[in-house]
């Protein structure tokens, strides 16, 4: 039968051995992190972004690299998914972007700080994370895409509009779906609408998006092609 001294020897030797292996793996990991995370692209702006991220406890609601709280969206790939324009608008006034939805604190960041946040998200988004976050594969995400008129979705449309509106089954359910929206509104109205929604329909929950003239043109042209006969 096992004696107490043998049990102690098992404990001590096991702990020492595995601690040594762990420290060795830590050293090895630190040598490999730069290549995997593009450490050379970690600019001062990125570092300032990380600082802002921590000083405001963004992790207290959001996750980044899957770490944090589960109250607000995962932001690892937010730079690709939503783009700098949306991120900036969200940081300027979150409740204007998602009115009546789950609330985020308005932080009064300067434009320079917003640029730093974007730089930080861009750098995070380019890391090799061993397959995280995974691509969705079931339901509509796994099925053949529903055909839409008007060709490919413009990038700015996929990043910004899709946050609330669905088109061809892809996108949020906060605003109405945009299928065949071109049958209902002409270009002039759509342009006035996405430029200043409050001027067209006071009290609407549709936010001002802060897009450039060029981006608005792109979106309006694409939306006006969403006609039932356009397929």
């Amino acid at each position: 039968m096992l004696s107490k001294s043998a049990a102690r020897a098992f404990f001590l030797s096991g702990t020492l051995l595995f601690s040594a292996v762990f420290i060795w793996l830590t050293v090895d990991t630190f040598q490999r992190i730069p290549a995997q995370t593009n450490s050379d692209e970690l600019t001062e702006s990125v570092a300032r972004g990380k600082q802002i991220w921590e000083e405001n406890n963004c992790m207290g609601c959001h996750t980044l690299l899957g770490e944090g709280a589960y109250y607000a969206p995962e932001l690892t790939r937010v730079y690709d998914r939503r783009g700098p324009a949306f991120i900036a608008q969200m940081l300027r006034d979150p409740e204007a972007v998602y009115p009546g939805q789950r609330r985020m604190v308005k932080y009064d960041f300067s434009e320079a700080q917003i640029d730093d946040m974007n730089a930080f998200f861009q750098w995070i988004g380019r890391m090799d994370l061993n397959g995280f976050p995974p691509e969705p594969t079931i339901g509509l995400a796994g099925a053949a895409p529903i055909p839409i008129p008007g060709g490919e979705r413009p990038e700015i449309f996929s990043q910004v509009c899709t946050a609330c509106h669905a088109l061809g089954g892809i996108g949020g359910a906060i605003g109405p779906a945009l299928d065949f929206v071109g049958d209902r509104f002409d270009r002039g109205y759509l342009m006035r609408w996405i430029t200043d929604p409050q001027a067209v329909k006071p009290g609407t929950t549709m936010p001002k998006l802060g897009l450039t003239q060029e981006q608005r043109n792109e979106v309006v042209i694409f939306l006006s092609k969403q006609r039932e006969g356009g397929l």
């Binding site: 404990f11 995997q36 963004c58 207290g60 690299l65 899957g66 944090g68 109250y71 998602y98």
Partner: protein
């Protein structure tokens, strides 16, 4: 109780009760926010509630461990605390630092790193405070007339917990380095050295409550903490899957995490076997309930539910979802909250001199907290799995998924209400015990200990 200086434990335990009550308040704030009623948002935004909820948990558990050590170490080493007054100073400093941190969270003063939100200047104060504690305990062990395995394991657990706080303070601009060191603290605490503390406290309780021979209890204590470190140290790898670290962690983390439940299973079998084997009918039956309950629930929460999502193939989808909250709640409850409540339940009759033992309210506290926490875990689990399928697998937008999950948080609030009623019953009992005025036993010469029944 053998020495006057053990009474300081009472004040640590009273602090636990206070901080635990506050922790529950913040828990409800978050549950209501998740259910769609974030009415306190302008004053207590979710991130403030979350930081307070987590840090209050860590603080009351640490206060509980310190109280346990101040009670157990003199008893085991057969001498009073080396610096009894220092223990009071250290408690007051601990509470001041903790309360300052919690208030600071509400004014956007924090570090914003998961579980280590306490702002940097306060970090240094925590280190100094814990060092005072470790030195006091260390001197008591050193100068004691006996050195038992239980006290040595407990001491090293506390010492290593203090040492492992330091990697979390390494400054870096790199998010991956930041996360890497953060888990050195958090993981190596809860799945490493805190289990030494747990093992030490459990061994003490089992020796006292069951009357099983010390040699047997302590031998298995070594085996179990041996398995804990064997699996837990490299098991840290399950936090290094997706943070920008090499993919060999998927293998290492996956394999060693799969072994982690074995240590907890060992702990559960150990508790159950000793409770059955013990010939003694200790009058404090409810303390044995909490002790054995801790062994079993830590296996379910930390071992089994942890294993349920540490496999890399599963974790790829569950990482950063409510599934983590499901595991986290029962793991901390089973392993550490129940442990502190167990040592409190055991020590209170001695500290206060009142032998209330298993009153109806004490028994209600045990069952309603455990049933309530189990139901909360189920609610988190259902919400978590639904989130995984809708968001990660089917690609629905985050906010759309969250609206679908709101109903599960109503379920969570109901379960949490049952849990809270149990905690209220526990605190009611605590208050009924009254002030720490318990009689100090006549000191027994070391050689005669074996002949005299403990307590």
């Amino acid at each position: 109780m053998k020495y006057e200086s053990q009474k300081v434990a009472y004040w640590f335990f009273a602090t636990c009760m206070l901080l635990l009550s506050l922790q529950l308040v913040y828990g409800f704030i978050m549950a209501f926010a998740h259910a769609g009623y974030d009415v306190l948002h302008p004053w207590v935004p979710f991130n403030a509630a979350r930081a307070s909820h987590n840090n209050l948990l860590v603080m009351w558990l640490l206060a509980g461990f310190m109280g346990a050590a101040y009670y157990i170490i003199p008893d085991e080493c057969e001498r009073p605390l080396y610096w009894p007054k220092l223990a009071y100073v250290q408690l007051i400093a601990f509470v001041i630092v903790g309360v300052t941190a919690i208030i600071g969270f509400h004014f956007n003063w924090w570090e914003g790193r998961k579980f280590l939100e306490i702002p940097r200047p306060l970090d240094y104060l925590v280190v100094v405070d814990v060092l005072l504690f470790v030195v006091n305990i260390g001197m008591t062990v050193w100068k004691g007339s006996k050195m038992t395995t239980t006290s040595i394991v407990l001491f090293f657990g506390l010492l290593m917990a203090a040492v492992l706080y330091l990697p979390g303070m390494i400054p870096t601009d790199h998010q991956t380095h930041d996360a890497f060191w953060r888990w050195w603290v958090v993981h190596l605490w809860v799945e490493g050295v805190w289990e030494l503390i747990m093992g030490g406290i459990l061994a003490y309780l089992l020796i006292r409550l069951t009357g099983v021979d010390r040699e047997i209890v302590e031998k298995w204590l070594y085996v179990i903490v041996g398995f804990t470190f064997l699996s837990g140290i490299l098991g840290t790898g399950h936090h290094y899957y997706f943070i920008g670290t090499p993919n060999y962690w998927l293998w290492i983390g996956g394999i060693f995490s799969a072994l982690e439940p074995l240590a907890f299973l060992g702990m559960a079998i150990y508790g159950l076997a000793l409770a059955r084997k013990g010939g003694r009918n200790h009058p404090n039956r409810i303390a044995l309930f909490w002790t054995v309950g801790c062994c079993v629930m830590s296996f379910v929460g930390a071992g089994f539910l942890g294993m349920a999502h540490t496999l890399p193939q599963v974790n790829l989808y569950t990482h950063g979802t409510l599934v983590t909250a499901m595991h986290g709640h029962m793991a901390f409850w089973g392993a550490y909250a129940m442990l502190v409540l167990a040592i409190m339940t055991y020590a209170l009759p001695q500290l206060t001199g009142r032998k209330l033992f298993d009153t109806p309210s004490a028994i209600y506290a045990f069952w309603s907290t455990n049933i309530g926490m189990t139901a909360m875990t189920v609610a988190f689990g259902i919400a978590g799995v639904a989130q995984v399928y809708l968001e990660r697998r089917a690609g629905m937008e985050f906010l759309d998924v969250q609206r679908e999950l709101q109903v599960h948080f109503i379920g969570l609030i109901l379960a949490a209400t049952l849990f809270t009623s149990g905690i209220i019953a526990f605190i009611y009992n605590f208050i009924r015990y009254g002030w720490p005025v318990g009689d100090v036993e006549e000191p027994v010469p070391t050689g005669l200990r074996a002949a005299v029944p403990a307590e």
